[in-house]
């Protein structure tokens, strides 16, 4: 299966999306992203963590230690209010960009 290199800046949005569906630990976020993108994107696993720390510092995520489904201690991430707001804004922004790009790329000579 071919995997696309992830665009710079999109990892944060993907993490926000993944966590917006419910609190997750790091590995869980990775699995969730794989699941919702049909594993179409290539993410270096370790690279997830600096992004998570950055989002926590920015106040968009909250981290807390808890116990996972198989009774292992794990650090869970969830959205804060600010995170939820940012997620909505970024989603809207992304959609605008994607639409614009799609339209632009679909343009044919006779339409101009």
């Amino acid at each position: 299966m071919d995997q696309a290199q992830i665009l710079p800046g999109t990892l944060d949005l993907l993490i926000l999306k993944a966590v917006s569906l419910g609190p997750l630990h790091g590995y869980g976020i990775l699995l969730r992203i794989g699941q919702i993108t049909n594993s179409a994107l290539l993410i270096e696993q370790g690279a997830l963590y600096p992004a998570l720390f950055r989002l926590v510092r920015q106040g968009l995520l909250r981290a807390s230690w808890g116990v996972s489904e198989n009774n292992r201690r794990a650090k869970f991430y969830e959205l804060t209010a600010a995170g939820r707001k940012r997620f909505r804004e970024e989603t809207a922004g992304w959609n605008r960009l994607a639409t614009a790009m799609a339209t632009a790329l679909a343009a044919r000579p006779e339409e101009i």
């Binding site: 790091g26 590995y27 963590y49 720390f53 510092r57 920015q58 106040g59 650090k75």
Partner: protein
């Protein structure tokens, strides 16, 4: 919210470092294990699954660092790293650190000490409410520039209600008051008008201040106490108001007490009402006037109003000098007085000392940076940017300077106490024994800023220098030869040159002040001050409102004093010969009457005054006991007055008439015949030429004049003794107490002490500047020595080669000496130029020497050159002793 998250992130990062590391480790580990679990479930063997999981995760260490970075605070972290590194680097070379920190501590400490005095005297606002609207009244006229006023002028000021909210008169010094009782003592009381407390915003703690009725003639005897006197004499009893205080055997009713925080100007234990006549033509100028401007009125507007109103005043009082002007100036400036100049000069001088200390430390840093060149080269080879290296080096130098600053603050605190111990009496605003001087936020901020600035100042230059190195060549160069390059040498030379020139400026300033001091002490004062005792007595009471009463006391007192064993002669006067402040207009009879013909100093004395001070009678005769009231009026004049007014003929036998137009005080002043000419004494202070002056017998002054003196200042008793004057003090005080029926004497000083006080400001300036100059000289010498010693050490091999090729020891020595002396001479030349420009700032402190005194400008550079020569000679001698074989083999 976001900021909170950021702060939490930083707190976690910096304060829970190990916990964060553990958690991160655990998070990564669980991730990898879960992945391995999943892979195992996909059919891999456990070992293979774990290997794959680790590979997929990527660089463990790299992500850990990225996470750390993601937590924020990169700047703080870099800084902390730099600080830790700098600390380690400095600990590795304790000798360097101690040398640098102590040089800086000295420099910063001296600056802190001087600044804390400047802060208290010049920068702190006056403690009075609305202090910026407070003004002092000045009355410059064609004959005298004075801040003293007379009653008609005071009333004139009071009438200018369009610009002044309140106007108040107060005693210049005050006569002093004798507190009667078991232990009589002289209290410092000053007369004020009722507006004084309003102008100065004095907080009334108990009772009240004077009513306008109490401040009118016959308004009763009332007094307001200071907090200190109230505590001392009444134990702070609130029932003190209404009680009576016996001053000069007369009861005064205490009507109020002023709060503790009030800083009285002039200093006072208590205040009494002036009780001026509402209408008066008394032209005697004997008090000061302060006023409060109306809100929004500027000093310029007030001056314009005074100028516009002046003609009316001169019409009302036709006898007055029509050229007389009226003006106000900021009260703050008048309180600070001429202390401003000398303090600012000292601050400048001490700043130069700090600059020299900085140059020395910069030099040390340059040497150190040379030794560390390879370290920097390696660091930049490993990817450190130039800015990173500069900031690392700056961190080191700022750490040094802050350490120096902290030590300096302590030194400054000690220094300020030392400064006050040697400072002249009467630095304004410093409080009792300098109690008002302390460390406040201004001083702390000053020290902090100075420390940081010096750190950057001396650190930046070497840091930039070090970071500019050429990587390739440095790494290739053998370590012990690096740093002798041209640019390095140039940087250090510039530092040494500036040190020498700054030191020269300070030394020239110090030398000029030393010459001033010597000149002042070389001045023949015109009298003999040895073995003379002076003391003051306040003449309170009705008896001393008449000349006869005063004369009687003086006769009795002198008889008793002269009878004391050990006393050679005694006398009395209202002024000491070194400081006569009274002046009087007069006419020379037989010459055409002209307005403002003559005006000069005048004082009244008892017989014996001239012999006591050994003031020579050049011609004519001294006063005798027979020159008393009713006898023909007589006067003595000094040589300056004789030369000025009788340049071509003989003044003796001439008649003069004094005090016309002065007012009721001089009513009854007799016509006087000049009976003698006496030698000049420096009656305006040692630094000033002798002013023309006239003397009259106290027994012959009009009653009004005697009364005025009893009211405005104390009388001096003077005694010349055969041996140490201190031994007769008990007998003198006892005899005077009996003669005066119970008055104490105060301020007992030898005349030598009085003379010392009069030049205290100059000695203080000289002492400080000399200390600074010597410190600068030593620092500069160390600077030159350090540079030459280092360069000789670096060039040992070169010396060896030169010698192997045939240079003799003398040539080598000359080479090194010339190298060092060239720098010193350039520094001296620059310093002479700078000193020419700067000495004018101390011109006002100089006496008997010009700011460009050739002797100073030749001698001081020679001294500096001699010191520099010694400093370069030692390394040069070492260089010439190099053994060529050893030097060459060492390579």
């Amino acid at each position: 919210m976001k900021i909170m998250a950021y702060i939490r992130s930083l707190t976690a990062k910096f304060f829970h470092r190990s916990q964060i590391a553990e958690e991160m480790e655990e998070e990564f580990r669980t991730h990898i294990q879960r992945r391995a679990d999943d892979l195992e479930r996909g059919g891999l063997a456990r070992a293979e699954a774990e290997r794959r999981a680790r590979i997929e995760f990527g660089g463990n260490q790299r992500y850990r660092e990225e996470c750390h970075e993601a937590m924020g605070g990169a700047i703080v972290e870099t800084l902390m790293q730099d600080v830790r590194f700098a600390f380690r680097a400095l600990r590795k070379s304790p000798g360097f650190a101690v040398a640098a920190i102590s040089a800086l501590a000295l420099g910063i400490g001296a600056n802190t000490a001087i600044f804390s005095v400047v802060n208290t005297v010049l920068l702190k606002p006056l403690t009075y409410p609305d202090a910026d609207r407070m003004v002092e009244f000045l009355a410059p006229s064609s004959v005298i520039a004075s801040n003293l006023a007379c009653i008609p002028e005071f009333h004139f000021y009071q009438r200018q209600t369009s610009v002044f909210k309140d106007v108040a008169a107060y005693d210049n010094a005050g006569p002093g008051f004798n507190l009667s009782g078991d232990r009589p003592e002289q209290l410092h009381g000053i007369h004020v008008t009722e507006g004084y407390f309003r102008v100065y915003g004095a907080p009334v703690m108990l009772g009240r201040t004077f009513t306008p009725q109490e401040d009118s003639p016959h308004g009763g005897k009332v007094v307001v106490l200071s907090y200190g006197l109230w505590q001392r004499k009444f134990g702070g009893n609130p029932a003190t108001v209404g009680k009576s205080l016996s001053l000069g055997n007369e009861p005064y009713t205490i009507i109020g007490v002023i709060g503790k925080e009030f800083v009285s100007d002039p200093q006072a234990d208590m205040w009494l009402p002036f009780q001026f006549e509402p209408v008066s033509n008394d032209m005697n100028h004997f008090f000061q006037v302060a006023g409060m401007l109306k809100p929004g009125v500027t000093v310029e507007q007030a001056n314009a109003q005074l100028e516009a109103a002046a003609p009316q005043y001169h019409r009302d009082f036709p006898g007055t000098d029509p050229k007389q002007q009226f003006a106000v100036g900021s009260l703050r400036d008048s309180i600070i007085g001429d202390a401003r100049n000398s303090l600012l000069v000292m601050l400048g001088a001490v700043g130069l000392v700090l600059l020299i200390a900085c140059a020395n430390v910069a030099n040390l840093l340059l040497v150190r940076a040379t030794g560390r060149k390879r370290e920097f080269a390696i660091r930049s080879a490993l990817g450190a940017s130039r800015g990173r290296i500069v900031s690392q080096l700056l961190t080191e130098s700022v750490m040094l300077s802050v350490a120096g600053g902290i030590l300096g603050l302590g030194l400054g605190f000690i220094g300020v106490r030392a400064l006050l111990a040697i400072s002249p009496a009467g630095l304004p605003r410093i409080g009792e024994d300098g109690a008002a001087i302390g460390i406040d936020w201004r001083v702390l901020a000053f020290t902090l800023v100075v420390s940081l600035l010096t750190g950057i100042l001396f650190g930046l230059f070497p840091a930039i220098n070090a970071s500019r190195s050429d990587l390739n060549s440095t790494l290739k160069e053998s370590s012990n030869r690096s740093g002798t390059g041209f640019r390095q040498g140039k940087a250090r030379s510039v530092l040494v040159i500036s040190e020498v020139s700054l030191a020269l400026v300070l030394l020239i300033g110090a030398a000029l002040l030393i010459r001033t001091f010597v000149a002042l002490h070389g001045v023949g004062p015109g009298f003999d001050s040895h073995n003379v005792l002076t003391m003051e007595m306040s003449l309170n009471g009705d008896r001393y409102q008449k000349t006869a009463g005063v004369a009687q006391l003086l006769r009795d007192g002198r008889e008793r004093l002269n009878a004391i064993p050990g006393v050679e002669i005694s006398a009395s006067a209202y002024w000491l010969p070194i400081d006569v402040e009274d002046a009087m207009p007069f006419q020379i009879l037989g010459r055409p009457v002209q307005k403002d013909c003559c005006f000069n100093k005048w004082m009244s004395v008892t017989p014996g005054y001239l012999s006591l001070f050994k003031i020579p009678i050049l011609r004519g005769r001294d006063f005798t006991e027979n020159d008393k009231a009713g006898a023909p009026g007589v006067a003595l004049i000094n040589e300056a007055m004789a030369k000025k007014l009788w340049p071509n003929n003989d003044p003796i036998g001439q008649h003069i008439m004094c005090g016309q137009g002065v007012g009721p005080e001089l009513d009854g002043e007799p016509e006087r015949q000049i009976i003698g000419i006496v030698g000049d004494s420096h009656n305006s202070g040692l630094g000033q030429p002798a002013d023309p002056m006239m003397m009259v017998p106290i027994a012959q002054v009009p009653d009004g004049y005697a009364a005025a003196y009893s009211d405005i200042q104390p009388l001096f008793w003077l005694v010349r003794t055969h041996g140490d004057p201190h031994q007769v003090i008990p007998a003198i005080t006892e005899q005077l107490r009996v003669a005066s029926k119970g008055f104490p004497v105060a301020h007992i000083r030898t005349m030598d002490e009085v003379m010392g006080r009069s030049t205290a400001r100059q000695s203080f300036n000289m002492l400080l500047l000399t200390i600074f100059g010597v410190v600068a000289l030593v620092l500069a010498a160390i600077g030159i020595y350090g540079l030459m010693a280092y360069s000789v050490e670096q060039r040992t091999q070169e010396m060896g080669i030169r010698m192997a090729l045939g240079a003799d020891r003398g040539t080598i020595r000359k080479l090194v000496v010339w190298h060092g002396m060239r720098l010193a001479l350039i520094g001296v030349a620059l310093g002479i130029g700078a000193a020419f420009g700067l000495t004018r700032f101390i011109a006002t402190f100089l006496f008997g020497v010009k700011p460009w005194d050739p002797a100073v400008f030749i001698a001081v550079p020679l001294i500096l050159v001699a010191v520099a020569l010694v400093a370069v000679w030692l390394p040069a001698a070492r260089a010439s002793k190099v053994d060529p074989m050893q030097a060459l083999r060492a390579e």
